[in-house]
């Protein structure tokens, strides 16, 4: 019931933002109020399920599992963080005349609809709703990619909508083939579109048809996740949106698409009575998705684009972990949480840098640690978290990748490890140039003195939570909870 309340709040927030009398300030506060309400509703509704205090819930349309609850809470948390940062970010953009009231209205209509779509995709048991919700995440964010109306924004938005919509259309094709297998196995029309019922019918589903379905599902949803070679839209789109939205796109939307794919993987594994066949997809595409961006990262010229490429690389790490069985799946869950927290903090910081230095190009932003020490320090800390420096939780997930992977798949794991190392080096190389390199005459010189603002508070909060989470996991105390939560994704 509270889930529907959350959906209602988001719809209401989007509708309220359409009111012509709303000023920029009231639009921003409406967005923040709705995000706080959503966090409360989601925590109240699914928090007990995540902690195992109440049983998972299943209705005819929705399924609240423990993993879905974790995803829902992450979405709601990042929504609050993004709205807090937007409060400051949009105010600055409005003051500088970069964003008009019309654009701000568009922003505040699209973001709640985007969050609504993500929540619906996470909790849907009906694959039709799931598909519509996932497609809606693309539709609701396309105008945010083209937000600034520049040539490059239009190019990014066009690639985003065409490639993602085509990918998701192929995903629909996979869903229909899976439904066809379910119908052949004796499920009625409506039942063949429910994940929980499909799971129950796997014993009599045709293995060949299900394998075909998975190929389309993997290509389709893999496009939305940003797996190489279907990733081409991601660096463009994630670097062109306003930074708080980039944080949500990179921090959580990719995970939502991944969760969807893993739910279908479970059905396929049950049908084939083994996870070995689907694991191969995740391992091979995982390595490719780690290697390609790690090479591109070495020669990157734009820091928002660099962060976007890092998201691709981290999706590769998560894909590789997803192909490593139960232990890998725990690593996947840890990585997902750690990446969501650190990547969103980095994008918030990137927004702060952009507003201060008025460029996203590395060669036009230097000496940040001296000229914007708060942002610089937080940016450095978040980057260290992202590359898995202890006590980051990502250290543990990458340790699982190396430890488990080298035993089971030594060559692929060695390639993955080389890619992860290169990507880390690429990030640190650019970061050191950004933070410590002396300024050059071509760049903006008259940067005002930096004071602590809301974005810094949110970044510090994200990093604080990331630190506690990392210590909790490294001490071993968090392992039992995340093991039982990630077991939701294992069908065998």
């Amino acid at each position: 019931m509270l889930l529907f309340l959350a959906f209602g709040i988001l719809l209401l927030a989007a509708l309220l933002s359409l009111l012509p009398k709303m000023s920029g300030r009231s639009l921003r506060w409406t967005g923040l109020a709705s995000s706080v309400l959503i966090l409360c509703a989601i925590l109240w509704s699914v928090g007990p399920v995540l902690l195992g205090w109440t049983d998972p819930r299943l209705t005819s349309w929705w399924e609240v599992s423990r993993f879905a609850s974790l995803m829902g809470i992450l979405v709601a948390w990042l929504y609050v963080c993004a709205m807090l940062v937007s409060l400051h970010y949009l105010h600055v953009e409005e003051r500088k005349g970069i964003v008009s009231i019309r654009q701000m209205r568009l922003y505040m209509v699209c973001v709640p609809l985007f969050v609504l779509s993500m929540l619906a995709a996470i909790f849907a048991d009906n694959v039709g709703i799931l598909w519509v919700a996932l497609e809606s995440t693309t539709l609701s964010t396309t105008l945010l990619v083209s937000f600034y109306g520049k040539k490059s924004s239009m190019e990014a938005a066009w690639k985003y909508i065409v490639i993602c919509s085509t990918g998701i259309a192929l995903g629909l094709f996979g869903i229909l083939i899976l439904g066809y297998a379910g119908a052949q196995a004796g499920l009625q029309e409506a039942s063949a579109f429910k994940i929980s019922l499909l799971r129950g019918a796997t014993g009599s589903m045709d293995q060949g048809i299900v394998m075909w379905a998975f190929v389309f599902l993997f290509i389709g949803f893999g496009t939305k996740i940003g797996l190489v070679p279907m990733h081409t839209w991601l660096p463009d789109a994630h670097s062109k949106t306003p930074s708080p939205v980039s944080a949500m796109l990179s921090g959580i939307l990719l995970n939502v698409a991944f969760f969807t794919l893993l739910r279908f993987k479970g059905i396929v594994d049950l049908t084939l009575k083994s996870g070995a066949w689907t694991d191969q997809f995740f391992l091979v595409f995982g390595v490719l998705t780690i290697l390609l961006p790690s090479i591109v990262l070495l020669s990157q010229r734009n820091y928002k684009r660099m962060l976007a490429y890092h998201s691709v690389e981290h999706m590769g790490i998560m894909a590789f972990l997803a192909g490593l069985g139960p232990l890998g799946m725990v690593g996947f869950t840890i990585h997902m949480i750690g990446h969501a927290l650190s990547k969103s903090a980095l994008f918030f910081g990137a927004g702060e840098l952009l507003q201060r230095f008025e460029s996203t190009k590395f060669h036009l932003v230097h000496d940040v640690l001296k000229r914007a020490p708060r942002t610089g320090l937080l940016f450095l800390a978040a980057a260290l978290f992202l590359i898995g420096v202890p006590p980051s939780g990502l250290f543990l997930s990458e340790y699982v990748l190396v430890g488990t992977g080298l035993v089971a798949h030594p060559f692929l794991s060695a390639a993955a490890l080389a890619g992860i190392t290169m990507a880390g080096l690429g990030l640190m190389r650019h970061l050191f140039e950004l933070l410590f390199h002396p300024t050059i005459p071509e760049e903006k010189q008259d940067v005002p003195v930096e004071t602590w603002n809301l974005t810094h508070t949110v970044m510090a909060l994200q990093l604080g939570i990331g630190l506690i989470f990392g210590l909790w996991m490294l001490s071993g105390q968090g392992w039992p909870l995340l093991s039982s939560v990630s077991a939701d994704l294992l069908s065998l």
Partner: protein, 221 residues
């Protein structure tokens, strides 16, 4: 063969003809007409199956297909193209005559792969429903090829819509349609997607002065 079966077979033929025409047409208005025509045939097919299989819900599907795909989507795209003063002449990597040949070849490959796939194992009776299954896969392949071979944003948008028509045809043949609530959601998403893409294509035309996607090359590494 009943009258309803004959009608369905005729609709399948028209659907394929309309799609092939989409693949090879080089003028925007003709392309939109071909798309509307093939979509109407798909709607007619849903109607034929509704009568034949006594599946009432397919009447709603037929109505939705015809309204959304034959009228709303083409008119939105046409209006957007006029507003942005887009060129009526479309760009492709292929000449019109070669397009017919390539379109037919891609379609044949799709059918061949579908026939060789496990989708066809199971000893299905030879009906228009089973005939539609490999055809729908062929149409999906054609839509995909169209998106790759065409060089302007409007044709790529139409390529996406052709691909989606193939998927809709597959749902009719393999599952006898999908639940109406989901169908409604899917068509709403397609309609909104088409409106958004048409809007973006208009802005691309205004900013770049062309619809040619090879000019969208500012974002590189």
């Amino acid at each position: 063969m009943t009258n309803a079966s004959l009608f369905s077979m005729l609709m399948i033929g028209l659907f394929v003809a309309g799609t092939l025409s989409c693949f090879s047409t080089m003028r925007l208005q003709s392309l939109l007409r071909s798309y509307a025509f093939s979509s109407a045939a798909l709607g007619g097919l849903a109607l034929g199956l509704a009568v034949e299989e006594s599946a009432i819900h397919l009447i709603t599907v037929a109505g939705a297909v015809i309204v959304v795909k034959s009228f709303l989507v083409p008119s939105v795209i046409s209006r957007m193209a006029e507003r942005s003063h887009a060129s009526k002449r479309l760009a492709s990597s292929l000449r019109p005559s070669a397009s017919w040949f390539v379109g037919g070849a891609v379609f044949a490959v799709g059918i061949y792969l579908a026939l060789r796939s496990p989708l066809f194992v199971g000893g299905l009776e030879p009906t228009q429903m089973t005939a539609l299954l490999p055809i729908s896969v062929g149409v999906v392949f054609m839509g995909f090829a169209m998106m790759i071979l065409r060089k302007d944003v409007l044709s790529q948008l139409l390529g996406f819509l052709v691909l989606e028509n193939g998927i809709a045809a597959f749902s009719l043949s393999a599952l006898g349609g999908i639940p109406v609530a989901i169908e409604f959601g899917v068509y709403s998403a397609v309609l909104i997607g088409a409106i958004l893409m048409a809007t973006l294509s208009g802005r691309v035309q205004q900013l770049f002065g062309t619809h040619d996607t090879s000019r969208l090359s500012e974002l590189t590494d």
